[in-house]
């Protein structure tokens, strides 16, 4: 029984939040890695693209809620998601036409593009704050829990509770669907294949008649979808505040680089590696250990490797270690 209690406690405080966080990071990292692979620069504006897309979703959700449209037990935001993606897509394509295309024509160095994206980041950041404000926004509705801790305890008679939020369930399911769709698109469709060809060797791709502007267009559309979905899921599960999305940029880049920049599989793996290392290394194992170990061996202290203050430090330590020993990331990506 104690082993089951230990397992439940671990699942409740590490496995479930880690999985949801990992899925959100993975979606974000996929967007970063696609831009790096195809457009060949690190897009610093990605965190704010997520915030920007989520802002559209929130505004549309509020309109739906006002009009009395709801999706029953699942959040209304899921209904608003396609509209949010479309608007974000339009905005990103507009940004590309106005800003990025100019520099692409000049064939500037990647580092210049990075600086350009930094500028775009500040503008998007400002726009988001201007339109929806810098405060917390809550837009989650519907059922909050799949299982609540109290119900779980009553059902099983265990001492430990297990809570799974609806948003955590939706996050994982949506992430799986989006990833399956993305891989199908990249591997099976003509456009997807041309994008991969463009990524592998730009000159050969151009020679074989692939239209580069078309590839760029599709890339931005996919990135808009990924960013909006990732941002909305994060906002539903936690809360929407523009500044936290800006901060999310760090773990997202860490995930993309650890997995191997430019490699979609790596981005997904990287997301989960970063999420779980953050949660497990800062978790206090006292409770789990007390259940599992015989009484004499039970720890007096918290059995915590690092205080939770060092959460971000963990992802960066990991990043440095990976870059030192495997500069291309865990899955072979482009070297940074």
């Amino acid at each position: 029984m104690d082993y089951i209690n230990a397992l439940v406690a671990f699942t409740n405080f590490v496995l479930v939040p880690g999985t949801a966080y990992g899925a959100q990071l993975a979606l974000g990292a996929l967007g970063v890695t696609l831009i790096y692979g195809i457009l060949r620069f690190s897009n610093f504006a990605h965190g704010d693209t997520m915030a920007f897309g989520t802002m559209f979703v929130i505004l549309i959700t509020w309109a739906f809620q006002g009009a009395g449209i709801s999706a029953g037990p699942v959040p209304t935001a899921l209904l608003a998601l396609p509209f949010g993606i479309a608007l974000t897509g339009l905005f990103l394509i507009g940004t590309d036409r106005v800003v990025y295309r100019f520099y692409r024509k000049q064939r500037v160095k990647p580092v210049v593009m990075v600086m350009v994206s930094l500028g775009v980041m500040f503008i998007m950041n400002g726009l988001t704050r201007f339109i929806i404000g810098p405060d917390d926004q809550r837009f989650a509705d519907g059922e909050r829990f799949l299982i609540t801790a109290r119900n779980f305890r009553e059902m099983t008679g265990l001492r430990e509770g297990l809570a799974i939020k609806t948003t955590q369930g939706i996050t994982v399911i949506t992430a799986v669907i989006v990833v399956v769709l993305l891989f199908w698109f990249l591997n099976r469709t003509r456009t997807g294949k041309s994008m991969r060809a463009f990524s592998d060797n730009e000159d050969l791709a151009l020679l074989s008649g692939i239209n580069p502007e078309r590839v760029v267009l599709y890339t931005w559309l996919i990135v808009a979808a990924l960013a909006t979905v990732a941002g909305t899921l994060y906002g539903l599960d936690k809360s929407f505040k523009p500044f936290t999305y800006f901060q999310l940029l760090l773990p997202i880049f860490a995930a993309a680089i650890v997995g191997g920049l430019g490699n979609p599989v790596g981005a997904i793996a990287g997301g989960f590696v970063i999420a779980f290392s953050e949660v497990t290394i800062t978790y206090a194992f006292k409770k789990v250990a007390t259940y599992v170990l015989p009484e004499a061996l039970a720890p007096d202290g918290l059995a915590q490797l690092l205080s939770t203050d060092y959460k971000f430090a963990v992802s960066f330590a990991l990043l440095i270690v990976v870059l030192m020993f495997k500069p291309t990331g865990l899955f072979k990506g482009q070297s940074v």
Binding site: A9, N12, F13, V14, P17, Y21, R144, F145, T148, A149, R150, F152, R153, G161, L162, A163, K165, Y234, K238, S239, F240, K241, F243, T244, Q247, E278, V279, T282, Y283, A284, F285, K286, K287, V288, L302, A303, Q304, S307, T308, D309, K311
Partner: protein, 397 residues
Amino acid sequence: MKQMLLATTASALMASAAFADGHATDVKLGIILGFTGPLESLTQQMAGGAEIAIAEVSESGKLLDGAKVSGVRADSTCIDSAAATSAAERLVTAENVDGIVGADCSGVTGAILSNVAVANGIVMVSPSATSPGLSTAEDNGLFFRTAPSDARQGVVMTEVLMEEGINEVALTYTNNDYGKGLADSFQAAFEAAGGTVTISAAHEDGKADYSAEVGALASAGGDRLVVAGYVDQGGSGIVRSALDTGAFDTFHFPDGMISAKLEENFGDEIDGSSGQHPGTDSPGVAKFAEMVGDAFDATSPFAPESYDAAALILLAMQAANSKDPSAYKDHIMDVANEPGEKIYPGELGKALDLIKAGTDIDYVGATAVELIGPGESAGNYRQITFDGGKIETVKYR
């Protein structure tokens, strides 16, 4: 002719001044507050509070047999210790003040205390400096405050929890001076009272996700989770996450967490939780508000404390029958505390009479002043509990 007129006017003025003087000299109080800087929105009301007390005493004509009292304002800036020190120096050397109401922020208060007040032997009564560090500052008995030290809340929290039979808690605090100071003072007080703090973990404000923090807190365990944070910031995030994961059902909230927002965010999910924040049911507050009228907002933070600070200095002068700081500094504690007849705002004239007649007084004032330890307010706290999703007052302590 012109000269003649001037001379007559001048002599008439002198005569009337001499007449009003009686045998006593004038009393002058310095009011040094941050009229510019981060607290500027509060300091006008604070100075107003002190000036009401000064006017009340002056008009009664009973202090030291008819002394006129006046106040001189000076700017502490709240943050610039050098500017505050020179402003205070000016009050003492150029204006010859007999006592100082102020300063407001803890940093500049400490600077003025050591550089000016102690050096010149001037009494200082701060209405708003709350840093625990000032309790142990070298002051030669010259420094008092009508605001409680932040350390005091830790002691009150301990009393509340112990009375409810809670002796094992987990503690999380917002990672700044307020959170850290409160958490440390609470932990010290709670452990001294025989309780156990299983973990004391900081949380950063403005994060969206606190599952890692709550995981650690849950693992450490405890009967209640003490959240020394802000309701509009990470504090609410921690509570939300702790409720969602079933880590804690009840919480204890200090002042930064208690507001209508807390009811709105959590409703009956936190029933059975406890908390406390500064507050009093003393009738002095209402009387103070009545006196202030429309002059300014009487509920503005530290305005009643400022009234009390000025009143205490003047009453102590009467008790010592002298405006010399080295004489009246020893009487401040006497007039502030029991035993004696209770004195509320608006009754300063009566108090001066009583003191002259040799009767003890217990100055209650606008904030139910009770000075403890090295001359600082014990503070008054409202103990609350959550019942049916609403904040209910348990009692005042």
